[in-house]
């Protein structure tokens, strides 16, 4: 950062070195502020989570995870992610495709609706489901008569997770697909490709990095969602507690090692997600550079 600033100052002759180049103490001071801030706000809490989780060694950590209620919370969280991510993948691609490649009435409304889960507080999302499926909700009596449980049961948890993760894939794809326009698809169609062929051979390869990125974000939120899920959970131990809910319960029961063991597991999942994301960004950048090279190469030979 400091290097870049120095370089910039050096080349900008018109403004003069002194005017644009920050004094040494300021550069160092600002850098230190940033580093200290990062350390205190991000690194230290992470260290504390892991230190507490392993404060009774590996055995304590393993015993905490192996406890049946914690284990069922892990399974429920994974289930919620495993259901909501593919659903939102399909929905997100379909919505982004419709929005970016076609003109239709109500398009802006659709964009707004997709954004809704971003803009409302998760507790409202949860309450919405209670109002809809609760015993006295709109569909409650109908569901009760058929003995279908949604709220305070696993389906409610999954639904709430799907709801809060709806925007991630679509929001990632819409600007990308809009920027790409529809010329390539039109070209494919004019060369005789079917709609599906154009979609799988042209659209998907063009958006694949954005798509994967959206899926990763969606997955991260699905694993970590607390608010909406808390409202519809009913907190039945061993049945409707997800990992974030179980962490809160364990903490409130003064079981700090198990609470932080679960927390560290969740953090690990998040870190893994970020590592994958980083790898994908790196690959995306490389493949982008490659295509640019190829295009330049083709243009040069032509």
């Amino acid at each position: 950062m400091a290097g870049a600033a120095g370089h910039f100052g050096g080349t900008n002759k018109a403004g003069g070195r002194v005017g644009t180049r920050d004094p040494r103490w300021m550069r160092w001071g600002l850098t230190m502020v940033a580093v200290v801030f990062l350390a205190v706000m991000l690194i230290l809490p992470l260290v504390i989570v892991f230190a507490t989780a392993f404060s009774k060694g590996w055995a304590g950590f393993a015993a905490a995870i192996a406890e049946s209620e914690s284990w069922s919370a892990i399974k429920l969280t994974l289930l919620a992610a495993v259901v909501s991510v593919p659903l939102n993948l399909v929905f997100g691609v379909a919505a982004a495709w419709a929005i970016s490649k076609f003109e239709f009435r109500g398009k802006n409304l659709l964009i707004t609706v997709i954004d809704l889960p971003f803009s409302v507080s998760p507790i409202i999302a949860g309450m919405l489901f209670v109002l809809l499926f609760g015993a006295h909700g709109w569909l409650g009596p109908w569901l009760a008569a058929r003995d279908i449980k949604i709220i305070f049961a696993v389906p409610g948890i999954v639904l709430a997770t799907v709801f809060v993760t709806v925007p991630f894939v679509a929001r990632e794809l819409i600007p990308l697909m809009q920027a790409q326009g529809r010329e390539e698809e039109e070209a494919a169609l004019s060369l005789g490709a079917s709609g599906w062929q154009a979609f799988f051979r042209v659209t998907i390869p063009n958006i694949k990095w954005g798509l994967i990125y959206g899926v990763i974000l969606c997955n991260a939120r699905a694993l970590g969602e607390f608010g909406a899920v808390s409202v519809v959970s009913g907190h039945i131990q061993g049945v409707t507690n997800t990992m974030p809910l179980q962490i809160e319960i364990l903490y409130n029961e003064y079981k700090f090692v198990p609470a932080f063991a679960m927390a560290s597991l969740l953090v690990l999942m998040a870190l893994l997600t970020l590592v994958v994301k980083h790898g994908i960004e790196w690959r995306a950048a490389r493949s982008h550079a490659q295509t640019v090279d190829e295009t330049v190469g083709v243009a040069a030979t032509a």
Binding site: V85, G134, G137, K149, F152, H235, V239, Y254
Partner: protein, 339 residues
């Protein structure tokens, strides 16, 4: 290639979902009871449940598994009304169960006469938990309205314990002001001016006070206060017994509609009755509830501070009336907390 891997991903995840959800249905042979309870009973029921399962197995040969749900009592009652299918509820105060009866008609209105002692197998009271050495010199309720004394209590709107706190303070003020309601109101208003945070449940407040170190006095369930001493050590906190407090009666009852729907009435009823047995009473005492059984109580009496206790019926004319006057929308609590 991408098409295949996406399709495969969806199929695989579908299978995984089926497997995970299917594993729950396989154990349908054992009776499962859901006990929806309030915050500070976690440790008690955690120990009571296996003891009851053992007893039930010996008596009937049937296996029973008890699931727990804990939270602020008001919030828990709300969840049952919204369709959380509890076989039994063990909440912090009678009004929350009245609400379930009134709003959702899940149990008869006379539920409280179905079990001995007003359906309250154990009682408790409200005491003060202060930091070691009692640096602010808190001795009784009138110390809580002094400026600079920070008081921790959960929100009476969502927490049963907090409603007991509030009524205990009100009762004390009435008694010391010749039953002057206006003076009592001023007293409680002044006390709530000293409250910096209102958590939704008793356990949240305990964490605020004990873990986060906020506040000078924590108005607490007696059992919760004794638990804190046990968990955090007597070198950090101490209990102050006020001159007067309220007899807190946390009731239990069967949720008829859900128990009948699940076919668990028999086991659920036995689950509640077993709370009155020597085993249940001794466990309650072990977790710092005051047992109803006088013989069991005599054995553990020394662990409880001696406090003069009044009942809600004598001082406030019962929960229905107290709820309507103090905690209903626009009631006295709303009025004093707004200012």
């Amino acid at each position: 290639m991408i098409r295949h891997s996406i399709a495969r991903g969806i199929v695989l995840s579908g299978i995984a979902a089926l497997l995970i959800s299917g594993s729950g249905a396989a154990q349908a042979q054992t009776t499962t009871l859901l006990n929806v309870s309030y915050d500070p009973t976690r440790e008690f029921y955690e120990e009571y449940n296996p003891r009851f399962a053992e007893y039930w197995k010996g008596k009937t040969g049937k296996a029973v598994e008890i699931r727990q749900s804990h939270g602020g009592a008001g919030k828990q009652a709300r969840a049952v009304i919204d369709g959380l299918e509890a076989d039994v509820v063990t909440l912090a105060l009678a009004y929350d169960i009245d609400a379930i009866s009134e709003l959702a008609k899940l149990l008869p209105p006379d539920w409280q006469s179905r079990l001995p002692h007003n359906s309250c197998p154990y009682t408790s009271t409200i005491v003060f938990l202060v930091r070691k050495g009692n640096p602010k010199g808190v001795k009784d309720w009138n110390d809580l309205i002094k400026p600079g004394v920070s008081v921790i209590t959960p929100n009476p709107k969502t927490s049963g314990g907090a409603r007991w706190n509030y009524l205990a303070a009100w009762g004390y003020a009435l008694k010391h002001n010749n039953n002057d309601e206006g003076k009592a109101r001023e007293f409680v208003a002044a006390m709530f001016k000293n409250v910096p945070v209102l958590d939704t449940g008793a356990r949240g407040s305990t964490t605020t006070f004990a873990q986060r170190g906020i506040g000078d006095v924590f108005l607490s369930w007696e059992n919760e206060a004794l638990l804190v001493l046990k968990e955090f050590g007597t070198d950090k906190f101490e209990i102050v017994a006020p001159s007067l407090s309220i007899l807190a009666e946390p009731p239990v009852t069967l949720v008829d509609k859900f128990a009948d729907k699940h076919g668990t009435r028999e086991a659920a009823q036995a689950y509640l009755e077993y709370l009155y047995s020597d085993v249940g009473q001794e466990l309650a005492a072990k977790h710092f509830y005051r047992p109803r059984n006088t013989e069991v109580l005599a054995k553990v009496e020394s662990q409880f501070p001696k406090i003069e206790l009044f009942t809600i019926d004598a001082m406030f004319g019962g929960w229905q009336k107290a709820q309507k006057t103090h905690f209903a929308e626009g009631g006295v609590f709303d009025q004093i907390y707004k200012r």
